[in-house]
């Protein structure tokens, strides 16, 4: 006669077990991690969403401050420290998802927007405007780089081309579809005038020589998808949001991982460096609600 009673007891016990497992999950969950492969870097979380930005993508270190293309927050902001974040322009201007940014020597900032399209400028006086829009073919703008000539090169993910935009807003094709670049997500010049182009659709990093010869320097690699590239100290730095990696590339040493990001920190997007070779990366964590992080990898070279 005791058997039915035991059976009745069983379901509440299963419910209790589920609660215990849930509690265990809450406590054991490490949420996110940074696995350091190159231990000459030390990671620190600089800031997170609640301090005036939402979900940064493109980053640029400039005069002790970080310029953020706050993709999730539809704004471009300047981050000075955890308590000082200033908005340079936002959705009132018509921007939707700022993607990447560059600045010239005079303090003018240019940025792309993959949702609103176009090339946008915030001049040194703080005036923001669209330099060239969708009407000129800039439909979904991604990578951006300042050419030695002073023009701005802009990659377009829908047109599969790289455009040259003059300071007066004239647009011409720099690399047409015949070059086969599917999505120029990020671009950067090295110190020899070569242009690196990251295509995160085809998972390729291209190198375009000053003689306009296009080479594939990184391709067909398992677990490799270049999101943003940055060049400093004779090294190409690469973030990989799909695989949660930060890597470096030199022709001599090939591709080497610096750190692996996991959990809530795995979607590593933008990258920049400061004058002391410290690396800054932006992380887009949860998309609902939108949460982002800024992480600094402080360089402590071995003595």
């Amino acid at each position: 006669m005791t058997r039915p009673a035991n059976r009745t007891m069983f379901l509440p016990l299963v419910a209790l077990l589920a609660l215990v497992l849930w509690l265990n999950g809450c406590v054991l969950d490490q949420k996110g991690m940074v696995l350091m492969i190159d231990t000459s870097y030390h990671p620190t979380m600089l800031d997170s969403t609640h301090n005036g930005f939402t979900q940064p993508d493109g980053l640029l270190w400039r005069q002790g401050k970080l310029l953020l293309a706050d993709e999730g927050g539809s704004a471009v902001r300047v981050w000075s420290d955890a308590h000082h974040v200033r908005t340079l322009c936002d959705s009132k201007l018509g921007i939707l998802e700022p993607e990447d940014l560059v600045a010239d020597g005079e303090g003018n900032v240019f940025f792309t927007d993959d949702a609103a399209g176009g090339l946008w400028e915030i001049d040194r006086n703080g005036r923001s405007f669209q330099l060239a829009g969708k009407d000129k073919g800039l439909i979904s703008t991604e990578g951006i780089v300042l050419a030695p000539s002073g023009d701005i090169l802009v990659g377009d993910g829908e047109q599969h081309q790289v455009y040259r935009v003059s300071r007066s807003g004239n647009v011409s094709v720099f690399l047409g579809t015949r070059y086969g670049i599917n999505k120029a997500e990020s671009m950067v010049f090295d110190d020899r005038g070569n242009l690196y182009i990251a295509d995160n659709h085809d998972q390729v990093v291209y190198l375009l020589t000053p003689q306009m010869k296009l080479q594939r320097v990184l391709e067909n690699r398992t677990g490799f998808s270049p999101e943003t590239i940055w060049y400093a100290d004779h090294t190409l730095y690469i973030t990989d949001s799909k695989n949660g990696k930060l890597s470096r590339y030199t022709p001599e040493n090939g591709l080497q991982n610096i750190a692996v990001f996991g959990g809530k920190l795995s979607y590593v997007c933008g990258i920049t460096t400061d004058d002391h070779s410290n690396i800054y990366v932006s992380i887009q964590s949860s998309f609902d609600p939108k949460i982002g992080y800024l992480i600094k990898l402080e360089h402590t070279p071995a003595s």
């Binding site: 406590v27 054991l28 620190t44 979380m45 997170s48 809530k264």
Partner: protein, 284 residues
């Protein structure tokens, strides 16, 4: 009404102790690795070789499916085994969902320089000691780890899906037949799951959690089906007697895939979906 944060804090404290105990057991077990190539290669077989990992369990399952003279006993056994197979699918869904939502890297990853999130800070985790097994695969994987070539599936180790899955099968067999059940349970505990602790794939806590989930779901389903769905089960079981050969074929296929933790099912579903999309897309 009890204060929820207090309960949570107490539970956290208790669990921290539990994690410490689990880590100590892991360290003791992992000390066995990296000393003998023979031992490590045997352990590696239990990790990757489906024959070593699953054949005994599958054999026990089929033996229980057929092995008794009395029809009433065989009917009962088949009922238990069919429910076990259903439970195993539910278990894998549960453990996979939990391991993707709970971020806890495998112990061998925690042996590296790792910083984890603590609120809005990154805190360095004290590295777990790790002796690398001497078999070729483990050595290769460790070299890959040191280069940062980490698979995302190595970042969610809690709970162990192998523990959940194999425990479900073994306990299911045990419910139907004591001798074969103990054999299956012993093999699962020592060979299949023990090897995962020795090689740093899982901590004992991952294994215990996976096992508890597996056993709980299995027992709950056995109870629910016996109590409410027996009239539905009986025609199905009767069908297996009328069509012994087809039933055996189906059970073999299900056990084969179940013993392989449904790993081959995912690519099969993907390619089937791709083919369906291709033809449907072509029709549009």
């Amino acid at each position: 009404m009890p204060n929820t944060p207090v309960i949570f804090a107490l539970w956290s404290h208790l669990l921290e102790r539990l994690v410490a105990v689990s880590n100590s057991i892991y360290e003791v077990c992992n000390r066995l690795a990296g000393r003998s190539e023979l031992f490590d290669n045997l352990i590696a077989l239990a990790l990757d070789n489906t024959l070593v990992k699953a054949a005994l369990l599958g054999g026990c399952f089929i033996a229980v499916w057929h092995g008794h003279q009395e029809r009433s006993v065989v009917e009962r056994n088949r009922r238990i085994l069919v429910i076990t197979l259903m439970a195993s699918a539910l278990v894998i869904a549960t453990t996979k969902t939990l391991s993707t939502s709970i971020f806890l890297p495998r112990p061998f990853i925690e042996s590296q320089t790792v910083f984890h999130m603590d609120g809005n800070r990154l805190v360095e985790t004290p590295p777990l000691p790790y002796r690398v097994p001497l078999d070729a695969q483990s050595q290769k994987e460790y070299q890959r780890l040191q280069k940062g070539e980490v698979s995302q599936r190595d970042l969610g180790s809690f709970p162990s899906d192998h523990a959940g899955f194999y425990m479900t099968l073994a306990v299911g067999i045990l419910l139907a037949s004591r001798p074969l059940g103990w054999l299956a349970l012993g093999w699962t505990s020592v060979v299949v799951l023990g090897s995962r602790i020795v090689t740093g794939q899982h901590s004992p806590l991952d294994i215990v959690a996976g096992s508890v989930i597996g056993i709980a779901i299995l027992l709950a389903l056995q109870l629910v089906f016996e109590k409410w769905f027996r009239p539905l089960m009986e025609p199905a079981i009767a069908w297996t007697f009328r069509h012994q050969a087809i039933a055996t074929m189906l059970v073999f296929t299900a056990v084969f895939e179940a013993a392989n933790t449904l790993q081959d099912l995912s690519p099969l579903i993907k390619i089937t979906t791709a083919i369906a999309e291709h033809f449907l897309g072509g029709q549009r």
